[in-house]
Amino acid sequence: MASHPAILFQLGASHHTASLAVREKLALDAARASALASRLGQIAEVGEFALVNTCNRVELYGVASSNAAFPALHAALSAVTGCTTAELDSVVILRQNEAAIGHLFAVAAGLDSQILGETEILGQVKQAYEAALAQHWTGPVLNRVFQKTFQAAKHIRTNTGIGAGQISIATVAVDLAGRIFGELAQTKILVVGAGDIGLKTVQAFQSRGATAITVASRTLAKAEEAAAHAGGWALSLADLPAAIAEADIIASSTSSPDFILTRELIEAGIKQRPARPLFLIDLALPRDVDPATAELANVFLYNLDDLAEIAEENLAQREAEVAKCQAILADRTAALWPQVAHSLNAPHAS
């Protein structure tokens, strides 16, 4: 009796196929992930598996002894997530063998991400693999595939510009601050206005090590609330002149119809600290910062349009790198597949 080779598969849904509402249903918290793993372990045709579960994708990678595994996998996914079979059929994609390897490479390299070239996904794939390894869900096939995946993703990061430049307003602002100040841990950040966009920008700065945050708002109570949220200090707009003299970075996002940060105010502030540059981020519409402040020496002003334009340029540059990345990954997939195919033919694979 001729034995069939085992199948390396990837089965799952991502932001490419599933709407946000469906992804919310598919999302696996720790308990559901554990329940799904438990069900997968009970499917006789599945020899190895790993579960990559992020906010944008739920994907199963594994080795199946026959096609009979796939309806069972669907059923398991349906049982755990509550999605109907019809719902799953419309969003879940099955890739096999070489295509599955190519897909995993692309996911880990950030080519398949909603934010093209983002790096967080590689860490998430590593975590997924380590969890599977710790639970002994993986075997020789998946171990080899995942190790090669990490090597390929690292190669892409090092040798292409897929991750270069930031592509969101907040991270572009942080990137610019890095060009002005280098390390951000010692910089003092002043947020004018307690709006959402200002606080999101603060979070981006905090993710790069900034700790000295001050929030200024027209009403002190609002400033205090926002400062508590951001883990900083609060002050009212009346104290702005003194705060400007202390700040390295000022992000302003009030709803004021007039300029909050006038040229005179900024000029007076920087006179007290002439050797340090000042980075002004105007996130407001209408603008909060007088454009004339950009003429001052050692003052760098960027408004929403400037930041958006940089983000778009960076995205275009990342997109220009996609073809190069795909070619590299295709070569690596083609090189890995014969080895994996050999393993899949081995008796232990299924």
Binding site: F181, F300, E309, Q317
Partner: protein, 282 residues
């Protein structure tokens, strides 16, 4: 083989390696993400160039029995060599991106120009320092400080470029690799401090011998030398007091170094005990 490696041949090798380093750095600039190992290759080329330049200057020092500062050619070579040495320390301490490329270009230009102008090496002073090691140290330190000021000029240029890039929102290409404004400010401050310190020590040593024989140094040389030192000292003090910062500081450093380089002519032509020797024209 040994006879082929004359002092000038070694200096040519050094200059060409600097040029190769500069070209390798330029290749890296053509993409945001340089191929792995490009930086290592750049450093190897610069270290190799510096080593050959050192050997070339050493041979000339042995032949002249003193520090190789006998003519404009040697002084310019020494300035390039000093700038590269300072870069090795500054570059490894602060990990300043692009500074290697700038220093390579600067050192290659100085070294190649000096090699391509034969007139600079036709005449060489003998017994320049009257067998006095203190005077020799004075001269070497003074020229070394020019190497430091040369590097300061490069970092000032980088600061001007970074400032222009950030002000005009042109952030790609060469500008992508520039160090941060604050980092360049800090490096500039330390370089001007180092340069002024070295020049002050050099002038102190020179002054200690000068007071014993005031006629040994003519007024033009004295005025030019003290003028350069005073100008950099004032820049340092103004920077320290926060009165001269950022772009204005960078512009002043650029202009001042241009003037300092021009001053090398009068200083070189007005040496104590200068006994020119006509070298065989090459």
């Amino acid at each position: 083989m040994a006879s082929l490696l004359t002092d000038r041949a070694l200096l040519w090798l050094g200059a060409l390696l600097y040029l190769a380093g500069f070209l390798v750095g330029l290749i890296g600039l053509t993409r945001r993400h340089s191929p792995a190992g490009l930086r290592t290759m750049l450093n190897i080329l610069l270290i190799g160039g510096w080593g050959f330049q050192w050997l070339g200057l050493y041979q000339r020092g042995l032949a002249g029995r003193g520090c190789p500062l006998g003519n404009t050619f040697e002084i310019v070579q020494f300035v390039a060599w000093s700038a590269m040495l300072v870069y090795f320390f500054v570059g490894s301490t602060f990990r300043v991106s692009l500074l290697g490329l700038f220093t390579a270009g600067y050192a290659a230009t100085l070294a190649l120009v000096s090699l391509l102008i034969p007139q600079w090496d036709l005449v060489r002073g003998q017994k320049l320092f009257g067998n006095n090691p203190w005077i020799e140290a004075h001269a070497a330190l003074a020229v070394f400080s020019y190497g430091v000021f040369g590097l300061l000029t490069l970092t000032s240029l980088m600061q001007l470029l970074q400032n222009w890039s950030l002000k005009n929102k042109r952030l790609n290409g060469l500008f992508w690799f520039l160090p941060s404004v604050v980092q360049l400010e800090q490096i500039n401050y330390r370089l001007v401090l180092l340069g002024v310190t070295l020049l002050s020590i050099s002038l102190s040593v020179g002054a200690a011998w000068w007071v014993r024989n005031i006629e040994s140094v003519h007024l033009p040389k004295l005025m030019v030398t003290v003028g350069v030192w005073l100008a950099y000292l004032i820049v340092l003090l103004l920077r320290w007091r926060g009165r001269l910062v950022s772009v204005r500081f960078a512009w002043v450093c650029l202009i001042l170094f241009g003037l300092a380089l021009l001053s090398l002519g009068p200083v070189n032509a007005d040496r104590h005990g200068y006994q020119p020797v006509i070298l065989t024209p090459r």
